[in-house]
Symmetry: C2
Subunit: 618 residues, 2 copies
């Protein structure tokens, strides 16, 4: 194809055609991509700022490397929207994060250009090393490229990957995309270090890398020299502080201007020619090209959706389980000086911004480092402080061992606010909070609460802080209270509503409300159900088992993976439990649609109960 005419993103053969473009054409295409990004994310929600920052970087990577022969592994995938657009998914991009549409993250089953799954932070180097190792065993000398944002650099898995990749003899290239503004404000020594590197423009460019490239590849000697123009002379270079990445075994190239395609291409060409582990450091501006996002990238990290003209996110943060928790915790901390709050890079997401502002000395943002967060809680608890770690259900999975080893064995008192528990919607299967009940209930000295509205969330928080002496996990969903039927009896244990039926519906958390509506639907069909709404869902209680056993059948609905669920535990002690749980990885889509598909809407609950009763020989 020829590009004399105006470029058309939708008609190009991508990514192959990218290599044919002139730099002005690249710039034109970048503009088109940004327009598509902004339009789509403003409608569908998603991670705008990260993706706006990586448009040129993605272009440079695809011009220098040949996907899928070269393998590109994106970390997290927030930054990978341009990659999707540039690898044959431009037309489908309007379906981003919609049911049956494109995933918000990378998925090998979505495209041959997605070399590995992304979602949870910091996994890309380890995955890329596995791929690079396999290629080496195959005798294939193509490259594997892991693209990591600086936000992921606080994660232990990032370091473990780096530590192993550095000493490998593989063609692995790690592109560290430094944008100064990961999910919350970046924390930790590494973030500070990267920011120092960032500012030392030119100074750290390719020390030993330079020598190697110039020695080995005279052909590209000239462009490479431009990459290293900042290095004054050889003597100075030899005395310069090596980077931490060189200490770990990588060749280091950078920092490069992440919005200058030509400069990045030269750097990546140099990296490609080295055939050894190389770290390429790229500086980008988060939100690049969209004024509201560029000015305040924090707010645009992960928005539901937002208004295009003003850039205002339409999620009213104050009406959510997260902020109710955050504000209540402030009330408690005002009088209880022992309460500390911990987040792993999710200050805003978990509603801890209020606490951070009012009690900065007792607030700790540890960066993306859930393992550290939990063990750090253990240290605080050992000294009689009461740590409250607010964390998304799906990310708490990272700290399973630390919960057992550093909290449970010594029976420390710690509160875990398990946010985004249950189905989360558009983020999809990597982010659904459906495993916390199974893994938390497998840990001795642990209690689990599942409040069904704001008032119960507050009660549970008080009880966890003042009355408990173990690991107390309080799980609540993403978003806001949506109760249609008012909860007349907020409490921290359970509510048993008797309507004279010999059928029981058991549930907890937000599904309790659907259960209450299902009762009304069934009543209209002359099926009378009692309701058992659990709040302290674990440990299993004899009292509750006795209630359940008093019925002909107990229908148990829970937003939880099947094995390890609470209904399974009651089914083990009662012989009349009909469990309705989740038995597969739930894909992305609108949350209420997903809940309906899973059989958890009031209508579906009623339908299933009716169906069960009709099938059952009574």
């Amino acid at each position: 194809m020829s590009y004399n005419n105006k470029l058309d993103l939708y008609k190009m053969n991508l990514p192959a055609d990218l290599k044919k473009l002139s730099y002005p054409q690249c710039d034109e295409l970048c503009k088109q991509i940004r327009r598509l990004l902004i339009t789509t994310v403003s409608k569908n929600g998603g991670h705008l700022a990260s993706s706006l920052g990586t448009v040129e970087l993605t272009m440079a990577v695809h011009r220098v490397f040949e996907s899928p022969k070269d393998k590109i592994v994106w970390d997290v995938g927030h930054q990978a929207y341009s990659h999707k657009i540039l690898t044959g998914r431009a037309k489908k991009f309007c379906t981003l994060r919609q049911e049956d549409g494109l995933s918000g993250f990378c998925r090998p089953d979505e495209s041959i250009h997605d070399a590995f799954i992304s979602g949870h932070s910091s996994n890309s180097i380890s995955a890329a090393l596995g791929i690079a190792t396999a290629m080496k065993l195959n005798g294939d000398d193509h490259h594997t490229i892991a693209i990591v944002g600086d936000g992921a650099s606080s994660g232990g898995l990032f370091y473990e990957g780096l530590n192993n990749a550095g000493k490998s003899n593989t063609n692995i290239i790690v592109i560290l995309n430094y944008n100064e503004m990961s999910i919350s404000k970046n924390v930790g020594g590494m973030a500070k270090y990267l920011s120092t590197l960032r500012t030392k423009d030119g100074y750290h460019k390719t020390k030993s890398a330079v020598k190697k490239v110039l020695d080995k590849t005279p052909v590209i000697g000239s462009p490479v020299k431009k990459v290293i123009k900042g290095s004054k002379d050889a003597v100075k270079n030899s005395l310069l502080h090596s980077t931490l990445f060189e200490d770990l075994g990588f060749e280091y190239i950078g920092p490069l201007d992440g919005h200058n395609i030509a400069e990045m291409e030269r750097g990546l060409q140099a990296a490609k020619s080295m055939n050894c582990p190389v770290l390429v450091h790229v500086n980008t501006v988060k939100g690049k090209g969209y004024a509201p996002a560029e000015q305040n990238p924090g707010e645009y990290h992960g928005v539901g959706s937002f208004e295009l003209s003003t850039g205002n996110p339409d999620v009213v943060a104050s009406d959510s389980y997260s902020s109710v928790m955050g504000k209540e915790l402030c009330d408690i901390a005002r009088t209880n000086k022992r309460v500390c709050a911990i987040t792993a890079a999710m200050k805003y997401g978990t509603g801890l911004q209020y606490f951070a502002k009012q009690f900065p000395e007792r607030f700790f943002d540890v960066g993306i480092a859930e393992e550290h967060a939990v063990t750090f809680c253990g240290g605080l608890a050992q000294m009689n402080y009461i740590p409250v770690f607010a964390v998304y259900s799906t990310f708490l999975q990272r700290a399973y061992d630390e919960l057992i080893h550093d909290l449970a064995i010594c029976r420390y008192h710690a509160v875990i606010c398990v946010d985004r528990a249950g189905v989360v919607g558009n983020d999809g299967e990597t982010h659904q909070g459906i495993f916390d009940v199974p893994f938390l209930s497998s840990i001795p000295n642990t209690k689990i609460y599942s409040p069904s509205d704001y008032s119960e969330l507050k009660l549970c928080l008080h009880q966890a802080i003042y009355d408990d002496d173990c690991i107390s996990a309080i799980r609540y969903p993403r978003g806001n209270e949506k109760n249609i039927i008012k909860n007349e009896n907020p409490n921290t244990s359970f509510t048993h509503l008797k309507k004279g039926g010999n059928i029981l519906i058991v549930s907890y958390g937000r599904l309790s409300n659907n259960a209450a509506s299902a009762v009304e639907i069934l009543k209209s069909k002359d099926i009378i159900c009692d309701v058992l709404r659990l709040v302290e869902i674990f440990p299993i209680s004899e009292k509750i088992a006795d209630i359940i056993s008093g019925y002909d059948v107990a229908f148990f609905f829970e937003e939880c993976y099947d094995y390890g669920s609470i209904s399974e535990k009651y089914a083990a002690v009662c012989d009349n439990v009909a469990p309705f749980t989740i038995d597969y990885f739930v894909k992305h889509g609108d949350c209420s649609v997903l809940l309906d598909e899973l059989g958890f809407s009031a209508e579906k609950m009623a339908e299933q109960i009716e169906g069960f009763l009709n099938d059952e020989p009574t």
Copy 2:
């Protein structure tokens, strides 16, 4: 007390009296400690080489700091035996790792001088930071000291801790004990880096640290100057490569001679005076003072027990589940070129030394980095290799999230050899393998096998590699096959032995053998039991549920934590299951004694069944 007379370890007031000793007296005490270490570990087993290496270091720490006002957090605790001896536990030291005796690790409930629990690697910096933060909030300016071996430096949690501690304004001191020989041969960029630092004697000693100390603390200026004697001049210093630890926000002191008490004291005094995060790098010789251990520290890392004169470990490695697995895997890998083997620093412990020798290009020791190991497996699997990750049950806990995110979601085919599953004995509650069934069974696309002898282990390995297409976990215990009653029908699914009873005993793994013996005991009392021996224990099978349901009662014995157990899952679908599981953290002790206490010996099984039948109104 006066020390004119001969020192007596058992009569001293420790650790307080240490500060009164002259250097020659210190040396004398070190000799006594080493004798006690060697004698005790030769009888009781334990980690000799690590502990021999830290005798002087421990002495120096306790002379400079004041425990328990200053808090000492040992990583892992293999190195902490001298610490136990020097903190009032000399007399009880002969009970090390025995039931009701001293734990092999640090435990706050064992001594006020153990500031945090140790067991799993790399947690000390995070825990120490929690403690140091609490002290800061208390306005207490004592120090918290984390002592970490280089083996732990490959763990992600080490980095997360370091990354957060470096930017904290706390009095945290991290002592990095470099002994060149962690559990297996050390791997990774960090290990290589540390070894470089080690050899640059004097060069890296206290760059900015020097300045700070000299400026702030003129009183101790003179001894500090000795610490930095290697630094030639200020100009040179300013041009020198900073350490990675300084990059992460620490002041750096080292490397110090870990067998020179005076030198370490000067370094630790300097660290103490700085009141900021300091990393002190100490070089020690593993196995110091005991010739066989010094010559071959690898063999003495964790020995059952060994003969004092020759130093030969009495554990015949070739007769163990681990080595049977390792050898069988070699047989398979000889013809199947897609098989790769991965260990996280446990090459010898998991029996992978044979594979490493025969197929070095397909063998990967990733260091203590279980998370990376699993995600790395994902990368290999994505490229159609078959990764076999051999790992202790208790350490696999670290990779729960990666199993879900980087293996299960994409339904990769990977084999996890879960070694040390069930009760492990003397290592105690931090190391018992009783959670793998609960957490593995909560992961979709996962199968779990539990062979009951060597022949079944081999069969399961073949099936997992050749027939399965998911995560296949094969769990087996520490040590060797101890079957009293021969397994007549080795297979990979289950064996149902009918003897005409209406009572069933269900079990799997090594307990199957005890169950078989229990049947004989019960038979002698005219109680006839059938036996169901499971091999593929998960997913739950309808066929097995049907068998179970055909009996009056099914007694189910399993070495597994109660919640999330297999018996719980069958109890949820059958109403006649009487489960016998584990419902507490199991302390250290002899394995067969512990199994008996848990009710899992043949005698106890029979007793419990008899008791149940007598209680039951039939």
